[in-house]
């Protein structure tokens, strides 16, 4: 491993990496715009300039030349070097802006150039507050501008595609977006057009920037040139609290950040996890936030009548205890957490029912082998690993019509809406339903309807299609759980800004729902089963101990980046559904 000295500090770095990356790895900031670790480095922004020197080597002996004090003599390169294109080498000596006036000056000069044609409309720019150009200008830039001319005019507020808006004047030509379409997504929909100071990124005429990953360019754009059409002007970045969690649109479980203000999810952006989605997030994952805000139910109901939680749980328990276990069908959920599904299976076993099945959400042809999968639910793997099988709609329907089922217990899903059965099939069947939305199509048939916490409101574990177990963190508060009291919830709420603008404690947007790990133990208690755990952490700890399919997947092991579970073999076909 080569040793390099940066600002009088000697560090060991990985061989073959660039100087900029090794500085960033050491938490030594070097300002930069065009460099992105996943893409080639064109070194065009010229912001990461540093002084670089190498030890002088004697031509004949091939040994380093030492000065009087026994230190190697360092020859500095005559020009400043871009650290993003410079590979590290043993003995390299680097002076950054921390120790070199020359570098400091160069960075300041460069920012002055970057800003002369930049509109400086930060007050109305969505990127403000989260803008590398803005941040670095405050840190390293000049106090004012000496530019006294008209700025170059370029197209503004242009819809590049259905989801991305371009402001050509804000662009600093770092080419991250075009490199993304060329090197990462391969859609080749963007190119820099024109030449010199007039150039900016654009689609060729007649092409719409509509690839399924288009919104990644918004994340990587170091200025506000590319913004989200959906999120435009909705909220400033500092008004929202940001919670690292995972997306729920498909089985990939891409890591993301939920942006929440007043208990409403307003935006979803990517979160880097090199083991899952690297730096990227599909557009569908980003736009899938309205479901957390809209059509949410308001408290439990029994046969359509609003009741309090205690009454609803008691009613559910009554339904379960009055029947032969073999005549109860439990449906787990690929949308619910592994913990909740596990509790459900315990409950099913207690009342003598079969292992729950789950409703698969497969959309053939949707997956692309990258971050989108055919499976449109986040936790099918979790269900499979618990021994759940996909429900066979035909079998279920024939059993329903044969009158073999008295009680149908549905966890956080919608059998009618997904077409597993029709409302007419359910006549005469008692239904216990944990549901997310008031639009749930099974809801009209439900005897007991229990509003459930969604992925942004609960704590739990999803297992992605590759067997990667990852934690959910609550991004917004619900009425049922006091966030500051429940240890898990309170601790996991890692606000990046700690913003006073997010008034999560006001009741207005709090949904009256309960997470499965509250509802199911409450029902279980009423049928004589003790399922009281100290929260989901304890459930997962037990599961990781007792079930080989989850071996090692404790919350601590999963941490921020998840835990890769062992591969489990394809299980035998289920006797009931086969």
């Amino acid at each position: 491993m080569p040793k390099i000295t940066i600002d009088n500090r000697t560090i060991e770095v990985e061989d073959g990496v660039t100087l900029l990356q090794s500085c960033l790895d050491e938490d030594l900031e070097i300002p930069h715009f065009c460099y992105h670790p996943a893409m080639t480095a064109p070194a065009n922004c010229r912001q990461c300039l540093v002084e670089v020197g190498m030890p002088r080597v004697d031509r004949e002996t091939r040994e380093r030349v030492m000065d009087e004090d026994g230190n190697p003599v360092i020859d500095f390169m005559p020009k400043l070097q871009t650290s993003c294109s410079m590979k590290v080498a043993d003995g390299m000596v680097v002076r950054s802006h921390r120790t070199s006036e020359l570098v400091k000056r160069a960075q300041k000069d460069n920012l002055e150039f970057l800003l002369i044609n930049h509109p400086l409309d930060c007050p109305i720019c969505d990127q403000a507050g989260n803008c590398p150009l803005q941040n670095q200008t405050y840190k390293y830039g000049p106090e004012g501008s000496r530019f006294e001319f008209r700025k170059v005019a370029k197209p503004k507020n242009i819809e590049l595609g259905p989801r991305v808006v371009l402001d050509g004047e804000r662009c600093i030509n770092c080419t991250r977006c075009t490199r993304f379409t060329q090197e990462i997504s391969g859609s080749h929909q963007l190119t820099i057009i024109e030449r010199g100071v007039r150039n900016y990124p654009m689609t060729p005429p007649g092409v719409v920037f509509d690839e399924p990953y288009s919104m990644n360019v918004i994340d990587i754009c170091p200025v506000g040139a590319l913004t989200s059409k959906d999120h435009r002007f909705k909220a400033r970045i500092w008004e929202m609290s940001q919670t690292p969690s995972i997306s729920t649109t498909n089985a990939k479980g891409s890591n993301c950040v939920y942006h929440v203000k007043d208990n409403l999810v307003l935006n979803i952006t990517t979160r880097t996890n090199m083991g899952v989605n690297e730096f990227w997030l599909a557009d569908e994952d980003r736009l899938d936030y309205k479901k957390f805000n809209e059509n949410r139910p308001d408290g439990p109901t029994v046969r359509g009548q609003a009741r309090d939680w205690d009454a609803a749980w008691t009613e559910a328990a009554t339904l379960l205890s009055g029947v032969d276990g073999a005549r109860i069908q439990f449906l787990g959920s690929a949308h619910a957490t592994t913990e909740d599904n596990y509790l459900l299976s315990r409950l099913a076993a207690h009342v003598g029912a079969d292992t729950p099945s789950y409703i698969p959400h497969i959309e053939e042809g949707h997956g692309d082998g990258w971050l989108r999968t055919d499976d449109r639910a986040p936790n099918s793997q979790g269900c499979e690993r618990l021994g759940f099988f996909p429900v066979d709609a035909d079998v279920l329907k024939s059993r329903l019509s044969a009158g073999e089922i008295d009680v149908l217990y549905v966890m956080e899903d919608d059998p009618v809406g997904t077409g597993v059965c029709a409302l007419s099939d359910l006549e005469g069947v008692k239904i216990i339903l944990h549901h997310y939305h008031s639009t749930n199509a099974t809801l009209p048939a439900a005897s007991v309807a229990l509003p459930a916490a969604m992925a942004v409101e609960t704590v739990g574990t999803f297992v992605n299609c590759d067997g990667h177990a990852q934690r959910l963190r609550p991004a917004k508060a619900i009425r049922g759980v006091n966030r500051t009291l429940a240890m898990e919830v309170g601790k996991s709420r890692a606000d990046l800004h700690g913003t006073p603008f997010d008034r999560w404690y006001t009741e207005s947007n709090m949904v009256d729902c309960e997470p499965g790990w509250v509802s199911i133990p409450a029902i279980a208690e009423r049928v004589g089963l003790n399922l009281s755990y100290k929260g989901p952490r304890a459930i997962m700890a037990e599961l990781s101990d007792s079930n080989p399919a989850f071996q090692g997947a404790t919350y601590d092991a999963m941490g921020e980046w998840g835990f890769r579970l062992d591969v489990v073999g394809q299980s035998e076909p289920h006797p009931q559904t086969a």
Partner: protein, 224 residues
């Protein structure tokens, strides 16, 4: 939610107005395809031939409307965006319709010193257009060009990416425009080396129709 002033988002401007080239005409002939294949064979990848094929398309269609760029991209199996980026980078590819004859009047510093701007302004006055514009009859476009590499015979201009006209004078411009109105492109003009004048008594090439010599440059009236 705070209500900011909402700048309206405008849809992508319609940069694909009615195609200039009719669908039926939008193809390369078999001969042209053969020519393209020859060009492609000379490079490790087909991308190397893109500049030549863009030239071919421009000669064929007069300029490079989006559909022609697309045709080039398809022919070479290259991403359309990449070809479009290339087409907009170079000044000699016309992205919009120009006059039948495009005058690239060099005004770069040698020509500037020797009256390049006089010639440009004379052309502008004569055709009643500004540099960059096209006459109403669609015959002439006047452009200010960067150094065309004929500094010794300044001032000079180039006609439609083709022949050079050296040692410009007002009379020469008048004659050029008259000839072009009749459809006569200027022929290749060979500039005689001064040392050839001394040693060979004139231009060394016997196969060119027109020759000229490096002459004392005119005094520039305007330099800007």
């Amino acid at each position: 939610m705070t209500d900011f002033i909402k700048n309206p988002v405008v849809p992508l401007p319609d940069r694909m107005p009615d195609p200039v080239v009719a669908k039926d005409d939008l193809f390369f002939t078999e001969d042209e395809k053969k020519q393209i294949a020859t060009w492609v064979s000379r490079y490790p990848t087909a991308d190397g031939a893109v500049m030549r094929v863009l030239w071919l398309a421009q000669e064929k269609f007069g300029f490079l409307p989006p559909e022609a760029v697309q045709l080039v991209a398809d022919t070479l199996d290259m991403p359309y965006a990449k070809v479009y980026g290339v087409a907009t980078f170079y000044t000699q590819y016309f992205k919009e319709k120009k006059g039948t004859y495009v005058f690239d009047v060099c005004t770069c510093f040698s020509c500037q010193m020797c009256g390049g701007y006089d010639m440009l302004h004379y052309l502008e006055d004569k055709l009643s257009i500004h540099a960059g514009d096209t006459t109403e009859d669609g015959l002439f476009t006047v452009q200010e060009a960067e150094c065309l590499g004929a500094c010794g015979s300044a001032p000079m201009l180039q006609v439609t990416n083709g022949p050079y006209v050296h040692n410009l004078t007002r009379e020469k411009i008048d004659a050029l425009i008259d000839a072009l109105r009749e459809g006569n492109m200027p022929q290749f003009e060979s500039v005689t080396l001064p040392q050839d004048e001394n040693e060979l008594g004139g231009n060394r090439r016997t196969d060119v129709a027109r020759t000229t010599t490096y002459t004392t440059p005119p005094v520039s009236e305007t330099v800007k």
